[in-house]
Symmetry: C2
Subunit: 267 residues, 2 copies
Amino acid sequence: MAGSELTNVKSPRVKAARRLTKRAFREQDRRFLAEGPQAVREALKLDGVTLELFSTADAELRHPELITEARLKGVPVHRASGEVMSELSQTVTPQGLVAVCTLVHVPLDEALAEQPRLVAVLAHVRDPGNAGTVMRAADAAGADAVVFTDASVDPYNGKCVRASVGSLFHLPVVIGAPVSAAVRQLKERGLRVLAADGAGKHTLDDVDLSGPTAWIFGNEAWGLPEDVLAEADDVVRVPIYGRAESLNLATAAAVCLYSSARAQRVP
Amino acid sequence: MAGSELTNVKSPRVKAARRLTKRAFREQDRRFLAEGPQAVREALKLDGVTLELFSTADAELRHPELITEARLKGVPVHRASGEVMSELSQTVTPQGLVAVCTLVHVPLDEALAEQPRLVAVLAHVRDPGNAGTVMRAADAAGADAVVFTDASVDPYNGKCVRASVGSLFHLPVVIGAPVSAAVRQLKERGLRVLAADGAGKHTLDDVDLSGPTAWIFGNEAWGLPEDVLAEADDVVRVPIYGRAESLNLATAAAVCLYSSARAQRVP
């Protein structure tokens, strides 16, 4: 720390980071914001991903190991006033740490290069919190990749990054793949493509999940469009044993992904 | 409809409903608010639960079947102006329907009277959205009851009611049970009590879930306290196959409850 604190919310440095809260600028600048200690910790583990770190004096005291880690890696650390942090933060109670990161997604063929056995595809998923929670569940279930199709939310959205709790930095993430192209490539790689949909003929309990599998999850409100259902190898629903009409998207995705993870591991 | 519309947010009727957004008044008046078409539909299915219904003119046009159903059941329907609806609604985009309902929870011994095979216990769960999502998942997984221990969020909280998407009306819900008393009663009824915790020695894949089981889910941030872990028959974690540190509470609960549901049904 040079001892000086950023206090001017209109300074070029703050404005350059602030604009990354908008998707168009993230795409233009090829950068995004990772907020909070957990995201910053995971970002710092990847070489060259963290470009600069903003930290309040309080956060420096709470997370000295992250400040040290950033300096060791040659990442510029800027001390920011509470006002500047509020400008950069997208949470109600800012945790005092925001990193500017390079985009981390990879092309689809790269993500699928090493014989993946479990892939999650988000098609038309619009809620960033749901998308981040699915990324986290996919990571926990040991998925090899997460694919955001072209009609899905931006995984670099602040809420999505937070809900992923670092998982965005853990596994290959693909962005903007047309759903048909993704399904075709997944099939070519030998994965069975299952569309998760409440209208499925088969339930999770009826299908053999022991082989390489890609799950497609659809929109929160209206599920998956007909053409996606038609392209999948099978349409599978989570069985509803009680009186609930459905499960929410992230919950259903976690149940599907864990069913696959278990079937692939437990004889 | 008497043709007149409630437009005065200070009218006694609106104020009497409005105060139910606060827990202390819900407890005092023994009533709560169920907002949105799905919650209203499920509330109307239970005899005597819906005491009155507020509806905007727009919502009447969108959901005439609910207005008809309410009238058939002798539930007073009040047409409300947009301003009155905003006063009663706890959502950013009100859907124009709010029902005043009697409390629906039951005592613990009543909830456990009929040889339950799957029970979800929420201990120290504080986030109403998480709690509602767990209720919905428990309902979907065919659980026989959901128990909110004394240190958990109020299930009648508007956000919890919404996240449950009607499940609050589907299965017996218990409120305010001390966790020790709940564990003791569950054991007496022949249920195996499993604490879901990331520190568990066993994973979901190692335990036999085919018998009657109660799952205890803890706080979002710090899990379950030592005394609860000690009282449980076993502490079980969802296996993490990838690099995520953990799963979020509602996701982990859904994976546990569905593992039980499946083990109890699929040979």
